[in-house]
C-alpha cells in the first residue's frame, strides 16, 4: 500500500530529498553550538521550577557569564538518569533519602543551603467544588489530583493523610507536581496537594488547613526537605562534609522569595 501511495510521485519525492539537505545541515550546526562546555548543568526536582528564573537572574546580577542549564523532572527520574550515566554538576532532589543511591557515583551531599517545601491544599480558581479542608479530599464528587506515590510530593501527601487520618480519593495520580499544579491552574481539577512553591508561582488559590500550615517545622508531615548533591572533585570524594560552594549555583534569596523554607530540616 505504501507503494500505491507513492506511485506517480517519483519526481516530487526526489525534489523533496534535495530540499531537506540544508535543513539537516542546519540542525547539525545547531547541535554543535549547543554542546559547548562551561555551562553548569543542574538537575532539579520539578517543584524547583518556581525558582529557576529568579535564580538565573540573581546569578546574572552576581556576574555569572551564562545561566545554568536546568533539567526539571520528578526527583526519582533524575536520580535514575544519573544512575544511567547523566552527570549534572548539581542535583537537587525533593527527598534526601534518594540521594544515597548516587553517592557512589562521584557525588557528595551538600549540607548548605538546607531548603524545604510544604504541601498546601490548592483548589481551582474560585473553588468551584467548595473545598474547605483536607477532609474534602475524600469526597467523591470533586475532581481530586495528587502526585503519584512514586514521586516525593505523592509520598508526602500519603504521609500527611496517614498522619492526620485523612482519606484521599484521587481521580488522578500525576507523574510530577508541575503537571498536577498546571491541571489545577487551568481548572481541570478541583483540588489537590501541591507544594507551596508551585501554588505561589502559578497563583493558585489555596485553602488553609491548620494541620498543613501548622508551624512545627520538620515535624509537620507536610514539610519535606530537599537533598542537594554536587559532582565532587576527586579530592572531595569520601569527605564527610565537603565545602562545595553550591550557593554559587543556588543563591538563597530567590529560593526564599519563591516560597522555599530555608534552614529548616
Amino acid at each position: 500500500m505504501a507503494r500505491a501511495m507513492h506511485q506517480g510521485h517519483k519526481g516530487r519525492q526526489a525534489r523533496k530529498t534535495h530540499s531537506i539537505m540544508p535543513l539537516i545541515a542546519l540542525i547539525w550546526a545547531l547541535g554543535a553550538c549547543s554542546s559547548d562546555d562551561g555551562e553548569t548543568l543542574i538537575f532539579a526536582a520539578s517543584s524547583l521550577a518556581a525558582a529557576t528564573d529568579s535564580i538565573d537572574a540573581a546569578l546574572q546580577a552576581e556576574g555569572s557569564a551564562s545561566p545554568p542549564e536546568w533539567v526539571l523532572a520528578g526527583s526519582s527520574r533524575l536520580i535514575a538518569q544519573v544512575r544511567d550515566g547523566a552527570r549534572p554538576d548539581v542535583i537537587v532532589a525533593a527527598d534526601t533519602a534518594q540521594l544515597d543511591e548516587i553517592l557512589g557515583l562521584g557525588y557528595v551531599v551538600v549540607d548548605e543551603p538546607r531548603i524545604a517545601n510544604r504541601l498546601v491544599l490548592a483548589v481551582a480558581d474560585g473553588n468551584p467544588a467548595q473545598i474547605n479542608s483536607l477532609d474534602d479530599l475524600g469526597l467523591d464528587a470533586p475532581l481530586i489530583g495528587l502526585c503519584a506515590p512514586e514521586v516525593p510530593c505523592g509520598a508526602t501527601a500519603l504521609r500527611v493523610a496517614g498522619e492526620f487520618g485523612v482519606t484521599l480519593r484521587p481521580d488522578t495520580d500525576e507523574p510530577n507536581v508541575r503537571a498536577l499544579a498546571h491541571k489545577l491552574a487551568n481548572g481541570e481539577l478541583d483540588a489537590g496537594l501541591v507544594y507551596a512553591t508551585d501554588a505561589l508561582s502559578l497563583g493558585l488559590q489555596t485553602i488553609s488547613d491548620a494541620r498543613l500550615d501548622g508551624a512545627d517545622g520538620c515535624a509537620n508531615p507536610a514539610v519535606t526537605s530537599y537533598g542537594i548533591a554536587a559532582l565532587a572533585s576527586p579530592s572531595e570524594v569520601g569527605e564527610p562534609h565537603p565545602a562545595t560552594p553550591v550557593d554559587r549555583y543556588l543563591p538563597l534569596e530567590p529560593l526564599q522569595q519563591a516560597g522555599f523554607e530555608l534552614g529548616l530540616c
Binding site: 475532581l143 484521587p170 481521580d171 488522578t172 500525576e174 503537571a179 487551568n186
Partner: protein, 261 residues
C-alpha cells in the same frame, strides 16, 4: 529474490546499520529483564489492573477507528474534496504531533474548561478528562491516522470501477460500499485495525496529559511502566517486555496475513 551475499555492499552496510539501530535497544531492554521473576512481576495487582485498562482502551480505540475511520478513508479516496492536500495533512497530523501536545490540545478542546468541553460539562454533565472514556479518546486521536491511511491507500489502489459498476447494478452506493467495497479491502481494514490497535496500546503522552493516571480507570500499561521506572525499574522492564512481545506478535501475524503481496 537477491541472495544476501550478492547484495551490493553500499546498500547492505547501511541496511545492517539500520537493523542494528532498531534491534540493539531491544536487546538492551531484554538483557535487563528480570527473567526469573518475570511472571510474578506481571501478575502483580497493579500490572493486572493496568493490563485490563489497556485492553479495554486499545480495543475500544481500534473499534472507534473502524467506526469513524472507514467512512473517512472512503471520503478521502472517493470524494473530490476542496483543499485535498490540506485535509490529508490534517488527518495525518496526529502521527507527527508530539503526543504530549496532542494531550494538551485535547484538554484545551474537551477539558472541563475547554472549547467544547465546557458545554459538555454544563449541558450534559459529561467530563472527559480523568475518565476511561477520555483515555479511549486520546488513544483514538493518535491511532486514527494509522487506520485511515492504510484503508485509504487500499481504496485508491483498488480504483472506483468495481464500486461504480456495483452501484449501478445493485440498490445504490451504500449497498455497493457494504457488499462490494468493504469485502474487497478487508485485508487493508484488518491491517489498519491492527496498526491502530498497536498504536493505541503503546499510547502514553496524550493519555497522561489529557486523562491523567489512576489505577483501574486511566492507568494503562505504558503509564504503569513510566511510574514503575520511578520506583521499581525491574517491574517496568518486565511490563515493557510484555508490551514488546504483544506488539511484535501482532506485527508478525499481520505481516503473514495481510502485508505480504
Amino acid at each position: 529474490m537477491t541472495r544476501l551475499l550478492r547484495a551490493p555492499v553500499p546498500l547492505l552496510v547501511p541496511a545492517m546499520l539500520a537493523v542494528a539501530l532498531l534491534v540493539v535497544p531491544l536487546v538492551g531492554l531484554l538483557q535487563r529483564a528480570p527473567w526469573s521473576s518475570l511472571v510474578s512481576r506481571l501478575v502483580d495487582d497493579a500490572v493486572l489492573e493496568a493490563t485490563r485498562v489497556s485492553l479495554i482502551v486499545s480495543f475500544s480505540a481500534a473499534g472507534l477507528c473502524l467506526l469513524l475511520g472507514l467512512p473517512l478513508a472512503w471520503v478521502l479516496a472517493r470524494v473530490d474534496l476542496p483543499f485535498p492536500r490540506l485535509v490529508r495533512a490534517v488527518v495525518l497530523l496526529p502521527m507527527v504531533l508530539p503526543p504530549v501536545v496532542a494531550g494538551a490540545a485535547l484538554l484545551f478542546a474537551l477539558g472541563r474548561r475547554g472549547l467544547v468541553g465546557q458545554w459538555l460539562d454544563s449541558w450534559f454533565s459529561v467530563t472527559l478528562p480523568f475518565t476511561t472514556a477520555g483515555t479511549i479518546l486520546a488513544a483514538t486521536f493518535v491511532a486514527l491516522p494509522f487506520f485511515v491511511t492504510t484503508v485509504e491507500s487500499a481504496l485508491v489502489a483498488q480504483g472506483r470501477d468495481l464500486e461504480e459498476a456495483a452501484a449501478v447494478n445493485a440498490a445504490g452506493p451504500m449497498t455497493a460500499f457494504a457488499t462490494v467495497t468493504v469485502p474487497s479491502i478487508r485485508g487493508a481494514i484488518g491491517a489498519g485495525l491492527a496498526l491502530s490497535w498497536a498504536r493505541a496500546l503503546g499510547e502514553f503522552g496524550a493519555t497522561i496529559t489529557f486523562a491523567g493516571s489512576l489505577g483501574g480507570r486511566t492507568r494503562t500499561l505504558p503509564l504503569q511502566t513510566f511510574l514503575a521506572l520511578e520506583s521499581d525499574p525491574e517491574s517496568a522492564v518486565a511490563i515493557s517486555v510484555l508490551l514488546l512481545a504483544v506488539s511484535l506478535g501482532v506485527l508478525v501475524a499481520l505481516r503473514g496475513r495481510w502485508l505480504t503481496r
